[in-house]
Amino acid sequence: MNRHLVTVLCLLISLSIAAPVIAAPPGSPVALLSKVILDVLKKESGKNWEKATRGQTLASGDMVRTGDGALAIIKFKDNSLVRLRERSVMTITGTQTGNNLSKSVEIQTGVVGFNVARQRSGEEFRFTSPTSVASIRGTAGVFNSSTQSDTLTVTEGLVQLFNRVSSRTVDVGAGFTGISGKNGSIVSRATTEQERQAALNALRDDARRRLDIELRDPQGKTNRLKIEFND
């Protein structure tokens, strides 16, 4: 049997292959806009805001902004998904090492829903705001950044929320909401029904649309019919 053991040890020692490390060139696409509803703008570094369209790619440093009632769905190259809700602004960055992609979404303001695939070894996904950093690893939820505080509601998995002012960290699990304040405060508490509903809405792909129809009767009198509907 010792012979077998020696054979096995020899094989174990012989198995060590270093993973290739390939840095992505600057300006490489790291994500794309897979869905655009209503007024969505995109800004490349050093350029002006321009209208965004479905299928456009996003490089590291690009910004995306949504208007009233608008929605943008951004898919990263590793299939992680971010839903930028109305009246929100964010910047995406990505660093590729070999086949791994580390991603960061900086939220200037607004609400972002996320559905992040389980991260591989060596990968990470972060949401950052001037106040907080949320480290995501295979989970879903909503990140809401405002001038006073950041609110993180997690519907699946676990997120580590870090307050940059106080350097304090809390774990936010499914069914919990983390609140990170500009004054350095940071807490995690059970999600309220209102927050949960808001999170579910933020995770939906639809957005309110409005249809205006002008109706004219036989006498030539006109009336306007307004219909709001989900996509």
Partner: protein, 804 residues
């Protein structure tokens, strides 16, 4: 569930993967054949003569381990299910076999084992579930989602090659939409490829569409392929795939009714079964329930009906009915509990508990009556039975019944469950002495344990551990010791025993049947430690285990005890992830309490290599396993009857190949040999050679055919004649076809499978599947077995399924 998935499920029912590979009159099919890595694997077994089977156990082990884990499968009518936990779903495969116990307690295994005891002598060729590699997805479809239902204007095809190997030339990638090459209309942005049909003036018709992606290397050779299907909304049948509209109270109901007649040998049996599942959700509240009723239910066997009803919120889940709780594997796993289940998690604090019955009381049976005058004679003739007064002047002999056994288990824990967790478990279980009149040796058991898990460096390092200590009593019928009992029985140490009785008395009966008798060698302790390292394209796992010879948990009665040792397995990805080499070494030994005449050492070496071609070549796995068992006693000396000295050599090769030749074909080839050389006086040598060749073809028309040929050559010990052998050689051909009419609303399937050689049988199967409405399905199936040595057999089944 969409009609498409319903049809798929129905198709599986109509065309069970008939496992003629190992002929059985009880097991008609098993699934799956393959599974993704590190995800729970639901194993399903379809049976014939389900009423004859009272219990189905699954014994499974990961690659590199000789230690079988056992669990009870959830048996509902003709279907038995068990979910193998993710820890066992490791490449290249895990193995399993089944032990089926009939109402009389007789055990048979599937695949068939050569010995009388399938636990001690497992089948030479167990079943195998291939586990893929987690890094195999070179193509990521960013949109659409798989099986998505979209409006035509929302279709955007986007593909990421982030995970593709460096050998792949991104720009050479070819994309086909419904077999039309759309590569030139696609926008390439390094790793991203985007195609918007409406930008190219293409309008997709309603129905199912398929995107195929081909990757090529620098030599222009096909390096890999990927495929995705989605549905464009339209009219008619395509509307069936429309998602369920959002409701205030979202729910799903599935009703399944079956009437079935089986004619096996000379016995004909009707089965009538009905099952229903319900899941509902409103706000944070979720509701789940299931019900299964069967004509097999009888008071003289364990429950066959199943039910469960539960309510859950993000923090709390509570339910009542039949459930299979999973606490740390050493303490509670794979046991059906009928009763209350609950769990609560708030932040890093959690608690899980279960309370209920694991065995129903079954009263002993009256087998014979006799006059009171004959009692003494009858008792001396058979002292193993139970005797009681049936009527004045008449006694009866009874078979011993089964006590009702209750179980309570609880596990408080702390941790985020992603990167660290520590748990503490308590289990108590015991027989209800008053639940039956005629029984023997009611028992009790308590277990206390702890477990932990820690993951570091992005889960590249994983440390796990669990430990448990048990105490049990083999016969509580006499109750606990009194002070007088202890003084009378124990000349010394009486005070210590009284102290132990006073401490443990509230939890377990303490008398002379109590174990452990001593704690010197930890006979009732079990623990396991694991370390996983994932660096440099290697996944290395080291495990150490110790299971004391008297360790007992009524929640885990399937654990192999009296064993200790370690195993080490390494899986390396080589040559651009085209070759996967797995090497495992395991050294275990028994006799943990030095109670046996010799200590058996089990040395096992397993090596497997898988080649997954990026080009147009077959996938191949080859492997070798060497099992060596020796307890050091001379096979010729005076201890020769106790001597163990045997070795088993297994060689195997599996290959699959997908190719196009007028239609899509999948060819498979499996070869395996097993040779057991028993040097002991038992000379229990076994040789087995298996060869299987299969071809499945998917035509453009809704036609699917498959053909397989299998050959089995066995040399087995001749029962009752030590050292002599017999042969059992046979072959099986299987032909199957399935055709869909009216856009797959009506599907017809047929199978013919003759077996020849030392085993003669021809199996015919035919089935009809009708999707009457999008929420309603009817399935009719007829099987006929033409036997040569026994009467012909048949199975007729009609199933109705309704889904809301």
């Amino acid at each position: 569930m969409t009609l498409r998935s319903l049809c798929t499920a129905g198709g599986m029912l109509l065309l069970p993967a008939v496992m003629f590979a190992q002929l059985s009159t009880t097991v008609s099919s098993t699934a799956p054949a393959s599974a993704p890595p590190r995800k729970p694997v639901p194993v399903t077994v379809e049976l014939q003569q389900g009423h004859r089977i009272s219990e189905v156990q699954i014994l499974y082990r990961p690659f590199g381990s000789s230690n079988w884990r056992k669990a009870e499968m959830d048996l509902r009518g003709n279907t038995a299910r068990f979910t193998v936990t993710r820890e066992y779903a490791l490449a290249p495969f895990f193995e399993y076999y089944l032990i089926l116990t009939d109402a009389a307690g007789k055990m048979t295994s599937y695949p068939p084992a050569t010995g009388d005891d399938p636990i001690k002598a497992p089948p030479a060729q167990p079943l195998r579930v291939s586990i893929g590699d987690e890094d195999r997805d070179q193509v990521l479809f960013l949109s659409p989602e798989p099986d998505a239902v979209l409006d035509p204007e929302d279709v955007l095809i986007s593909i990421s090659l982030l995970r593709a190997d460096s050998a792949v030339v991104r720009r050479a990638t070819q994309i086909k939409l419904d077999d039309i090459n759309i590569t030139t209309g696609s926008v390439f942005s390094e790793d991203l490829i985007v195609y918007a049909p409406d930008n190219q003036g293409m309008t997709l018709s309603p129905g199912v569409h398929t995107v195929k992606v081909g990757l090529f290397n620098r030599k222009g050779q096909l390096y890999g392929t990927a495929e995705l299907s989605f549905t464009v909304r339209g009219q008619g049948r395509d509307m069936l795939a429309t998602p369920t509209p959002v409701r205030g109270f979202d729910y799903k109901v599935d009703v399944n009714v079956e009437s079935r007649h089986e004619q096996i040998r000379t016995e004909g049996t009707w089965y009538n079964r009905a099952g229903a599942t319900f899941r509902g959700k409103t706000g944070i509240w979720g509701f789940t329930s299931n019900l299964f009723l069967t004509s097999d239910e009888r008071s003289d066997r364990q429950p066959q009906h199943r039910f469960f009803a539960g309510v859950e919120t993000p923090w709390v889940q509570v339910g009542y009915g039949d459930h299979y709780p999973v606490l740390p594997e050493l303490i509670l796993s794979g046991k059906r509990v009928r009763g209350l289940s609950g769990s609560a998690h708030y932040g890093i604090v959690g608690i899980d508990m279960t309370l209920g019955q694991i065995t129903r009381s079954v009263e002993g049976k009256l087998t014979r009556t006799f006059s009171a005058d004959s009692f003494s004679v009858e008792f001396h003739r058979d002292s193993t039975g139970a005797y009681g007064l049936v009527s004045p002047g008449t006694y009866g002999r009874f078979n011993y019944g089964t006590y009702a056994r209750d179980l309570f288990a609880i596990r408080p824990s702390v941790g985020d469950r992603e990167t660290w967790e520590v748990g503490f478990s308590w289990l108590s279980s015991g027989d209800d002495k008053n639940s039956i009149h005629y029984g023997i040796a009611p028992r009790e058991n308590i277990v206390i344990g702890t477990d932990f898990m820690a993951r570091m460096d992005n889960s590249r390092i994983e440390i796990t551990g669990q430990a448990a200590a048990s105490a049990y009593n083999m016969d509580i019928s006499k109750g606990s010791f009194t002070d007088a009992d202890i003084d009378r029985i124990y000349a010394s140490g009486a005070e210590g025993i009284k102290k132990v009785r006073d401490i443990l008395g509230p939890y377990i009966t303490v008398n002379d049947n109590f174990r452990p008798l001593n704690v010197d060698k930890l006979p009732t302790v079990a623990y396991e430690l694991g370390l996983g390292l994932n660096y440099f394209d290697n996944y290395l796992k080291f495990t150490y285990l110790y299971h004391g010879n008297d360790y007992t948990s009524f929640g885990q009665s399937f654990l192999q005890t009296d064993i200790k040792g370690f195993s080490i397995v390494d899986r390396a990805r080589l040559i651009d992830n085209q070759v996967f080499l797995t090497v495992g070494y395991e050294r275990l030994e028994d006799n943990t309490s030095a109670t046996k005449v010799g200590t058996t050492v089990f040395n096992n070496v397993n090596v497997a290599a898988t080649y997954m071609s990026r080009s147009d070549l077959p996938t191949v796995t080859v492997g070798v396993s060497v099992y060596d068992n020796d307890n050091g006693l001379s096979v010729n000396g005076r201890d020769s009857l106790s001597a163990i000295s045997d070795g088993t050599l297994r060689l195997y090769m599996q290959s699959s190949y997908e190719f196009m030749a007028g239609a899509r074909h999948t060819a498979t080839l499996n070869l395996s040999t097993s040779s057991r050389d028993d040097k002991s006086v038992r000379a229990y040598d076994v040789q087995n050679v298996t060869a299987e060749l299969g071809l499945t073809t998917l035509y453009q028309a809704p036609l699917r055919t498959s053909f397989s040929a299998a050959m089995f050559l066995n040399t087995l010990p001749l029962s009752g004649f030590r050292g002599q052998t017999q042969t059992l050689n046979y072959g099986v051909l299987t032909l199957t076809a399935r055709y869909g009419f009216m856009k797959n609303l009506l599907t017809v399937a047929a199978t013919v499978a003759p077996a020849f050689g030392d085993y003669h049988r021809i199996a015919f199967e035919s089935g009809l599947e009708w999707a009457a409405r999008k929420d309603m399905q009817l399935l009719f199936q007829v099987s006929f077995f033409k036997n040569s040595d026994v009467p012909n057999e048949s199975v007729v089944s009609l199933r109705y399924r309704y889904t809301i």
